[in-house]
Amino acid sequence: MVKTYNIAELDSLAREIWQEGKSFKTWAFYAPMGAGKTTLVHSLCEFLGVKETISSPTFALINEYSSPVAGTIFHMDWYRLKDEQEAVQAGMEDAILSNNYCFIEWPEKAEEILPENIFRINIELVDENTRRITTSAKAFNKKD
């Protein structure tokens, strides 16, 4: 899917990307700072009926939510992690291997621990209120 959207369209976008990506447990959100990763995850989790506070996990590294639709959701933010080793030590791999839904912001910080099959989401900035989302549901090509 490639789609241009603004903030008012987030709710319908959340529904669409859920339909497209729900067969994948690990979702990787690639985007520069300020593009709206947390905001998109927020809309997605609201759509999935999460009742807990959905907020940025930059500080906590990992937030856990429960959804009547998706079960346990781990909302992770690897912004502050340096590399794969730190991600493993911080329990990120455990969360991925738990086979629960994992929504990961800043996955580029530790790509090596991502599983083979991920739902990849790219957000690009178009202008202050507009973003372009590109999703690809395919195997992640690991670096050799």
Binding site: M33, G34, A35, T39, S55, S56, F59, A60, L61, K82
Partner: protein, 333 residues
């Protein structure tokens, strides 16, 4: 007499405090400077440092209070929220100590403790009071009806206020930790020089992600015209960003006062060290007829004294936990 030894290890500071009948006798904090080179707290480094620090920190806290371990009546620790590896070190130490001394154990919620830090020194707020708790990971408005009745009535739906400071600083190219630097440069700048977006979020909740985007776009546009824009205007930029963050916070505090009718207003958490926020709270208090309270700086950032004072009120209610208690990274109140 109730003598409480409290331990705080939720993030990157190992701290211990001794409190006797609600009076803080010591509050010793070991900072982990190792994180600066990484641009943030690294969980594994943090828990290792806690392990190295915890015994000496507790020793110093007892010594500074001139209290022997044998007269301690209860052991308190931070149970949640925080980095799990860090919390585990404090919890395990506290449990072991409680077991060996055969004393009751008190589990404290870190965010409740931030609020009750306002009860450490005189003048203390009378109940009920409102507290704006602002830190790197949290932004909340809490209604405190008694020491044991605290309710979150507003919180952030995305970034925390401290995160807004740190990430804005990152966009400005300032080194970590950026929050205190923004405060420093802001003091030389004009807070109305530039205008950034303020969110329209219902009720008493906060949002800071829109501000981040607004700053990002503004800087991109200006730097196209002049690559030196940030360097030339860093003071005004910092002052304008800081003033926007403070406005977002204070407008919701004002709304909370209007909704609850409570006019005792406190602040807490690491960001309450921000000089602009402290001044603005005092000014708005004078203008609107609120009584305002700001804890000493050492009780604003993470510290064990706030755990001790919270534990004291729990001790009075005999609110103890058994040794099966575990820390959790996130917890409801």
């Amino acid at each position: 007499m109730a003598t409480i030894l409290a331990i705080e290890s939720s993030c990157d500071e190992t701290s211990a405090s001794v409190c006797v009948d609600g009076k803080i006798l010591s509050n010793h904090i070991a900072n982990q400077t190792v994180h600066e080179q990484y641009g943030g707290v690294v969980p594994e480094l943090a828990s290792r440092a806690h392990m190295q620090n915890i015994v000496p920190v507790v020793d110093v806290a007892l010594k500074n209070a001139n209290i022997d371990l044998s007269v301690v009546d209860a052991i308190a620790f931070t149970q949640a929220p925080g980095l799990i590896g860090s919390l585990l070190v404090g919890a395990q130490f506290a449990k072991s100590l409680a077991l060996s001394l055969n004393k009751p154990l008190i589990a404290v919620h870190h965010m409740q403790a931030h609020v009750l830090a306002n009860l450490i020194d005189d003048p203390k707020p009378e109940f009920p009071f409102l507290c704006l708790t602002v830190s790197g990971g949290h932004t909340q408005i809490v209604k405190a009806s008694s020491p044991n009745e605290l309710k979150v009535i507003g919180e952030t739906i995305d970034d925390a206020a401290g995160e807004a400071f740190d990430k804005s600083a990152k966009l400005l190219g300032l080194p970590y930790p950026g929050g205190p630097l923004i405060d420093k440069y802001a003091q030389q700048g004009n807070p109305t020089a530039f205008k950034f977006a303020e969110p329209q979020i219902p009720e008493l909740n906060f949002s800071f992600s829109g501000l981040k985007t607004s700053v990002l776009y503004f800087l991109q546009a200006k730097q196209k015209e002049d690559p030196e824009f940030i360097n030339k205007h860093v003071n005004d930029l910092c002052a304008s960003i800081q003033s926007t963050i403070i406005n977002i916070l204070m407008k919701k505090v004002k709304k909370a006062v209007q909704q609850t009718g409570i006019t005792n207003v406190c602040i807490a958490g690491g960001v309450s060290a921000n000089s602009g926020l402290r001044t603005t709270l005092t000014e708005w208090g004078e203008k609107n007829g609120w009584k305002t309270f700001i804890p000493q700086f050492q009780y604003c950032t993470d510290n064990a004294a706030m755990i001790a004072i919270t534990a004291y009120y729990k001790y009075l209610q005999a609110d103890f936990v058994d040794l099966s208690v575990s820390p959790t990274a996130r917890a409801n109140w």
